[in-house]
């Protein structure tokens, strides 16, 4: 099993565009910190939970989309070798799970890098960080996306790649619209970044005081629904995946 994981990790992650895009994502995160977050979101402190939440959400969104892209491209072309992989000792659904777990670990590690980058930046510049609020923002933005990646990974092998690309564009569009306050707002936002900007703006008192950092129930519910969606897709994929491949392999043999 270890060998399979190592082999799959090599196949999935050792592609030239993965480290390049990860590096671009980190540079973008640094740029976000130094150009946008440094000014503070909705007149809150740059080191407030609001500002960090927006930063984390934006970073997570691009990492999430990158992870989905990796999943789609790693599954492209696998159908050609399905005949061989299906007759190996490991079942296709387990193989799918391994793949999605590898991408999920990659996603979480990337998010952790973004999280650490933010903490180091704010600590260095302002000598103040609010780790509790930051962790809450990290978990609420990254975890539902991680669960969605696991879920999507289990079904990605059976989907046409075009569906995956459309999904990425759709998620990106919904998130960008959410950031502009159009559509369902932060309830539909894939990474939940817009919550921190929208709600801090709504709560801003204009009485020359700091807006207290709060996590609303509606936001937790929206993030939980995203996580549930991931679990549902995972359940569907895990119980149903592989059937088509086996059918195909029987036909081909």
């Amino acid at each position: 099993m270890k060998k399979i994981i190592k082999y799959e990790a090599k196949i999935i992650l050792c592609k030239p565009y993965v480290p390049i895009l990860l590096l671009i994502n980190l540079l973008y995160s640094y740029y976000l910190l130094s150009a946008d977050i440094i000014l503070g979101v909705s007149d809150t402190a740059p080191f407030s939970g609001w500002s960090f939440g927006k930063y984390m959400g934006s970073g997570v969104l691009w990492t999430f989309l990158l992870s989905l892209l990796i999943l789609i491209t790693s599954n492209a072309g696998r159908k050609n070798v399905a005949v061989l992989t299906n007759v190996t000792g490991i079942s296709p659904k387990k193989l799918n799970l391994v793949r999605s777990l590898i991408v999920t670990v990659f996603f979480l590690l990337s998010c952790l890098l973004i999280f650490l980058l933010g903490c180091v930046f704010l600590q260095t510049l302002f000598q103040t960080i609010r780790i509790g609020a930051y962790l809450a923002a990290f978990l609420l933005t990254a975890l539902p996306c991680a669960i969605l990646i696991i879920g999507f990974g289990t079904v990605a092998g059976n989907l046409h790649p075009a569906f995956g690309y459309v999904l990425i564009v759709l998620l990106l569009a919904v998130s960008l619209f959410a950031a502009a306050g159009i559509g369902g707002g932060y309830l539909l936002d894939a990474a939940g970044a817009s919550y921190y900007e929208t709600v801090s703006g709504l709560l801003e008192s204009f009485e020359a005081s700091e807006t207290p950092f709060v996590i609303r129930g509606g936001y937790v519910l929206a993030r939980s629904l995203y996580a549930c969606l991931g679990i549902a897709v995972f359940w569907f994929g895990y119980t149903g995946s592989g059937k088509k491949d086996r059918f195909l392999s029987r036909m081909l043999s």
Binding site: I38, L39, A45, T73, L125, F126, Q127, F206, A208, E210
Partner: protein, 743 residues
Amino acid sequence: MNQLIKAIRAEFIRLMKKKTTYILMLCHIISIALCFVPYLQRQLRIFMNDGFDVIASGTNEYIYRPFVIGSLAGSILWGIYVLASADKEKKNNSREMVSAFMDERKHSFTRIMAFLGVAILDTVLCMLVFLPVCMKKMDYLFQWKTYIIYPLILMLAGIVMTVFLMEGLYRLSENTIVSLLVFGILTAVQFTPAFKNSIFVRWNLPQELPVSDTVGSAGILRILIYTRIILLLCSICIWSLASLFIRKYQYGPVRSFLVSLKKPLRLTVPVLCALIAAFMVAGQPFIDHGPLVVEDIGNVFETSWDLAAECSHVQRDYYFDTVRGTIRGTYKLDIEETAKQDLEIYHNAGIKIKHLTFNGEEVDFTTHFRKEDALKTSLSDVYSAFRLPEGSTGELVCEFEGYPTQSRTNYKDWEYSCANRTVGPDYIYLHADIVGMEGVGNAPYTSKTRIHVPTSHVPLADGFEMKKVEDEEGGITCWETYNDYAIIMSSPNEICDIDYDKAKVKLAYNQKNGYAIRKYKLDEAASDVLRYCDDHIGTLNTDETNRITIELVSSELGGGYASDGNAVIDESVLSAENLSDQKDGANGNETFMHEIVHLFLGDLGLPFDDDGLWSCEGMTVYTTYRIVKEKYGALYAKKYYSDVWEEVVKKQNNNFYLRNPGYLDKLPESYKNSILSSIGTDNKYCRMPLMLLKAEQILGEEKMDAVIQELYARRNEYYMNGGCCTFEDFLNAAGLEKEDLEL
């Protein structure tokens, strides 16, 4: 060669037989058409102008912006098509067939040429479709030249770059996803604040630069053409380099590249393109290539002109090459006595001194950037230093030539602008920093300045008409003035008198704007503002000639200012939108009023102290509010003025760094300056007018007018004492305390 032409023809016909080609053309036309939908037009205007809803010229609204969006849409559509088409060949294995009778590199080239043919057809089609719309919208300001040039350099160039880039990326990676990703990154990077002002990065979404409806904006056209050529060369370089990686003998990219290098001549095109592009970037004539200066807007036009020599007479002659945009001329000084040996002439960095002679003998000189104090360095200024024997007398002649540049600092931070220095066939506008344009030393001397401009032009020096001397050869006319001056504006101008009995007020505008001036009676509007100010502030200050000129200049200026008997306003106040739209907020009409009010409040009328809050801008904005209130009603003035001020002040009070100034010092200098600059602007344009409004609410309108009149009446006293109107003076005159006006 014959085979290549046949292949291009075959590929072009193949493309033209595809339904997809026509669907993409239709999509492209629709994407441009969206720019004419009023709601989207406004959103795009805000998007392209960094969040400001500023109505620019008709050319910007109906030609420039739609075709910039057309460039982006065309780039995406045709880029994907190029990629899909290349990938299809790989998927259906037709590549092997093609490469059997044609080199793959040549085949790639034929595909590019065929796509370029389609792109040209597409551009022509788009231009034909939108021609009637633009003609109708632009009305009497429509110009064929503008309509043909901008779509070609903005849209067609963007699509051509895309075709080369996508073909190159695909040949390099042989992977559609990687190619699309790189294309996406290169496109997305233009939207990031870090690069959105870089004209060398905006390849398929060029920046929106203010373009004039009447005078052609030759300076902007030159920079656009120059940068588009550089970007085109870069895209050709990418393709020609990538084509060396075309897979051969089933090798990978590196070994295929090494095989391609067996014919080293193949590197000629990419190396040549890269070298030319690099030279063009490094040697661009539009910026000064000087040190980056910590920006201080107050010092942009502040220059030092003291030659440290006593002169009896100064004579300047300026000749213009309106096609190349260069200036050449001579600057003669009859020096009576030099105060010191080391002398300096300050001038624009783009202007090179060709010869410097003293009494007919060559004088050695060296040119330097002014680096001694970055904060006080005048932007885009250099000085040429030379040495004369102390106490020497004679004629110093300076011959110069060059392209007037702007500061690298401005170029980097503000985006390219030709606002202050432009030389074109229909418009010449030069600020103070051309050689010898302002005064020399403190001693009295006589001065004669001659400018040689196209015969159709009527030049103004600091807003004042010049004397026509003679018609010269080649459609050039010589004009003369006997004053030192700071600004030359030469264009086919018309000058009319404004009905105002207390001074000779003239309105100067381009002949093409005459229709709008007469239709919308702007001369009467100017007269109304002058009368309002007369009734509520005091009598207009004029110079000894009792004359003032309101000058309408190219919309490249983007706003206006008033100084030295001259109110300068950009022509976008005459755009159809600005003139007809009185419901959509404080618009260009009100900018027109604002600048005229500056004739009373500012350096020309009542001088103001500027402490970051109290300034002439604040008082002018408040006065404009009062005029607007009288003209359009209290509701309009509240909605578009006082409510806006309140909102800004509320946001400002809540700003984290204002609440916690200690954290401001922790920020990098550039952020600190940016925050302070933003606070300063809000203070002048919103907080101070709101404070004055609060004072008005306490005192009442009549008493408020009386206070302003009292302060205005003291203007001569201020001039005599070298002082200016302070916040304290206002409080004393109004009988208020500082605390009364706190917000």
